[in-house]
Amino acid sequence: SQKCQNFVSEPMGNKPITAVDGIDEELGAKLAAKGFDKAYILLGQFLLLKKECAAFQNWLKSSFDASSSEAEQ
């Protein structure tokens, strides 16, 4: 998607969580409320889960009610 292309076209720097493809305002607010207000913090979580996509997606779904498509995006 265009959002994904925009996100990967440059270092994420201090971009907000909603800059991440698949994360809209609603999901972003839930993540931010738990401290995940920046894209780089979400990256940190992904790295802690040893970059395992399935584990990361499960975490997004069980912790923040992300849908399967949001989690995959």
């Binding site: 979580q45 802690l48 889960l49 040893k50 499960n58 975490w59 069980s62």
Partner: protein
């Protein structure tokens, strides 16, 4: 699921290893996920 909250990190890691469940470190934001994995495996 409640019983897994009572496990120490070492005990939970031991179970993850015993069941050959791939895992990263147990920190605040990952622990619950791994408790769930062990729970699902044992179930």
């Amino acid at each position: 699921m409640e019983e897994y909250k009572g496990l120490t990190d070492n005990e939970l890691i031991a179970r993850l290893k015993k069941y050959n469940i791939s895992h990263g470190p147990l920190v605040g934001t990952t622990r619950k996920l791994y408790e769930k994995k062990v729970y699902e495996y044992e179930k």
